[in-house]
Symmetry: C2
């Protein structure tokens, strides 16, 4: 059973949290066959934390969990904070296959989309 | 003379700053006819600040400056901090047409790109 967790920064603003929930819904509706479930988790300010979301997935029977960081650049959160939380989860749940995907902003298509928006 | 400023968060990590400079270069190389120049500016931690970059553009003779916020969600930075800095610039430079574009993450194509990455 394969779970996807979209990892976002978190915010004090409900509008920001709502956007992440909408993205999760967008993926969930279109990726049904690929993942048993799609959920979100937050680095700070918003619940659930990444720790909590991973533990919940394991409790729910996930045998594989994919973490997809929704971040734009290779700053401290991407380079240090998220890998540290990921490594703790790997150590804590050795029977679950947990993988950390490259962050969103590293996709080449992001630069092209930004170019397109700059010209629109 | 129309200038584009890509507005990023800023980071203590050079790798993050380098990515923003690469994006600016990506846009600059492909949007030459649209803008007299393309530069970046940062909300915090990295120079130049948005204030400084706007003032430089005005000094360099920009008659129109477009701000494109490279942010993912409608959090405090997008909803409050950037509009406040923008409004100060509009008041400070009444003879320059300054416009604030929607933030990157609000583009519908972003959700589809994230979906695509989740399935790859």
């Amino acid at each position: 059973m394969h779970h996807l967790l979209l990892i976002a920064h978190g915010s004090r603003r409900q509008e920001s949290t709502d956007e992440i929930h909408s993205l999760v819904e967008h993926i969930r509706e279109r990726a049904d066959n690929r993942y048993a479930t799609v959920e979100c988790a937050f680095l700070e300010l918003t619940e659930p934390s990444i720790d909590t979301a991973i533990a919940r997935s394991v409790e729910d029977g996930a045998t594989r969990i994919t973490l997809l960081p929704y971040f734009l650049t290779d700053g401290n959160h991407v380079a240090n904070d998220i890998p540290a939380i990921y490594q703790c989860a790997v150590d804590r749940f050795p029977d679950t296959q947990i993988e950390l995907r490259p962050y969103f902003g590293s996709a080449p298509a992001v630069a092209d989309l930004l170019l397109e928006l700059s010209l629109s």
